[in-house]
Amino acid sequence: MNLARLVTLGSLGLAALLIFLLAWKPAPATGKRHSSTPLPSLLVYCAAALKPAVEKAAHEFEAETGRRVQIQFGGSGTLLSNLRIAKQGDLFIAADDFYLQAARSNQLVAETIPLARMSPVLAVAKGNPKQIRNLEDLERGDVRLALPNPETAAIGRLARERLMAQGRWQSLSSRAVALKPTVNDLANDLKLGSADAAIVWDATVRQYPELEAVPGEFLGSVESEISASVLAFSLQPAEALQLARFLGSPQRGVPHFERFGFRGVEGDAWAVRPEIVVYSGGVNRLAIEETLRRFEQREGVSISRVYNGCGLLTAQIRAGQKPDAYVACDVSFLQPVAGQFHAGLELAETRMVIAVKPGNPMGLKTLSDLARPGLKLGLAHEEQSALGALSLRVLREQHLADAVASNVVVRTPTADLLINQLRAGALDAALVYEANAKPAAAHMDFFVVDWPSAFAIQPVAVGRHTAYPRLMARLVQALASPESQDRFVAQGFKWRRTPKP
């Protein structure tokens, strides 16, 4: 065998050795040892400019939850192209709104949780050697100005917009020594002295001890938001959301962003698995239950549901209960406790119906028929439930309240009980909502009460005291979604919400 062959075979052996060395993992350098069963890790695409804060926070997340986080750093734009093609990963943390909008318009992201904020400033080297005090100074012959590129950076677009409004963009951009793709390129220019002034984020200035911001709001008071978005194709959205909640929580991630110069956001309290309480009128149960169940699953949260007559629910709230959200049977039951909730969102409405035995043996069709002697009528309790109050009001408006009163054999807190009693044969008729009657249509007949005020509107409202305002906003969004609409309509409700949020 000659030398050439020997070397060739040797190179094969060397390749094998190299592959072995690549695969060989020496003791973990991170110092983590508590690996029992490895959980699937999360893949995060993170703008390189946020590396210090996100890395620290992710490390804490790993320690607290035992779940590994793999962070893919890069320019926001590069990352965006990557995830568009690769279609894998769980979370996208862009350097600013610009890329998030792009990701949104490509339908790449689902939920978004804000993490921090920043504003544009005019930055110079420490000590302001060129004595730059305002935008006029940027036009001086001895000032080398560097600007962010409006095509590649949110701050560039913002700067162009604001400078155009002041009629300065043309002259400044033609005077600029460079248009740089990222804000860090600009900061590096200032640090190295290859530019005298640049427009960067206030957070950038705080990250670079060599820079300072020229005092004054030259570009107006505008903000950009850094946020974590769950990727639409994430296979573990609950875990991705958990990490996003961690990063955006004032107790966990936000302080890291503040330490690195960003302004924090007022986020949700941190909990590994948040527990929330939803009060809901019984009539809404079937329409919202599936939405709540899916929300729990996707978000990794626990929802305690309290279904009851709305009079009882409202009374409980007035007595000091603080549900995180309240899906009322009618807007009239939200009003008494309005102070405890943010403005409600009207989801659906349902009409009042007369429910009767199958085949309607007694021929009951209108409210006045209910005054027939000897009839066994069931009504909802007028104080305990929205339906009861509504029934009484409509009967009064038709001057039938007294005539019907002697036929009322039962007043229940919810319509479900009336339906059950009707089905059991204990009642001849009951006043319920269409949404109560429709699911039981196989066992009874019902007739819509033809009267202008004989319907109820179901709003959802978020409690002012909730520790999870952002989570609750997402729940409201879920309840207002087209899927939720289908569920409401299938249960006999009429969808009320206009498409605009």
Binding site: L14, A15, L22, Q72, G74, A86, N188, K191, Q207
Partner: protein
């Protein structure tokens, strides 16, 4: 390539002027490179270098860089030697096309190579491979991204090497009873040793500096796919110029040591003497 350049005989004044002109013209580039390194050195301190070396992240990146570059170099040689020989010695149907194809990675912007790899591995066959061996955002992705670029340079070098070799020696071997294969093993390949070393050097150095395709295709995940060039990018993007420079200087040092070793092992005494040994 002849050793005559080391001639130290007394020079005539005309020759002296000629050499001086050469030195000025060519030397300016060398001076420029040295100036760049000096500027970098002035920007950093031994402390920064030491801090960088102590970071476990950077140590991992060094290890991955050295291993992946060496493996990439070997793979490039395995492809480049046969392909270079084939292209230099034989015209075959489609040889022009092959010749053209292997040049494409040299002209494509590196980022596009990364992007193309990413797209390739999202196709049905690509996904099948991923199911067996994860490539995207994994270490094999780093090697593949390096290989796609550095192999093109190695092929070009090997082709030129074989083309410049006089085929007579092989023809003589054939007349003496060798087959084609034997002539290749016994004559062509040993004679191409310097070309192989040049190709290896080029491939290794290219891989070490490779950055765009790796960032796009393999990502820059710490303790996973972060190599030295991506470390530099990451440090730059958070404004840590000192660390970026320190890591770059580490790369220069690693490259110098590796290239000197390669040349010494390749038995080039004139270059070996230039080394610190």
């Amino acid at each position: 390539m002849k050793r005559a350049s080391t001639n130290t005989a007394p020079l005539s004044s005309a020759d002296r002027r000629f050499y001086a002109a050469l030195a000025v013209l060519g030397g300016s580039y060398g001076v420029m490179v040295a100036a760049l390194l000096l500027a970098d050195l002035a920007y950093t301190t031994p402390g920064h270098l030491w801090t960088s070396l102590q970071s476990s992240e950077i140590r991992y990146a060094i290890r991955l860089s050295l291993l992946s570059c060496t493996l990439t170099t070997l793979m490039s040689l395995w492809v480049a030697i046969p392909l270079g020989y084939l292209l230099a010695r034989r015209r075959f149907p489609g040889s022009v096309l092959v010749d053209l194809l292997v040049d494409i990675p040299m002209v494509l912007p590196p980022l596009v190579i990364g992007l193309s790899l990413l797209i390739l591995f999202q196709t049905a066959p690509g996904r099948m491979i991923e199911r067996v061996l994860p490539v995207t955002y994994a270490v094999p992705g780093v090697i593949l991204a390096q290989f796609m670029v550095s192999c093109a340079f190695a092929v070009r070098t090997m082709r030129t090497t074989f083309e410049q070799m006089n085929p007579r020696a092989e023809q003589v071997a054939l007349t003496l009873g060798c087959g084609r294969a034997e002539a290749f093993w016994r004559v062509a390949l040993p004679a191409a040793k310097r070309g192989v070393l040049a190709a290896a050097t080029l491939a290794w150095a290219r891989s070490l500096g490779e950055f765009g395709p790796i960032l796009v295709f393999a990502g820059a995940t710490r303790f996973k796919t972060e190599v030295l060039s991506t470390t530099v990018f990451l440090e730059l993007s958070v404004g840590n110029l000192e660390a970026a420079i320190a890591v770059s200087l580490l790369m220069v040092m690693a490259a110098v040591i590796a290239l000197l070793l390669l040349r010494r092992w390749g038995g080039e005494p004139n270059l070996g003497q230039a080394g610190p040994a």
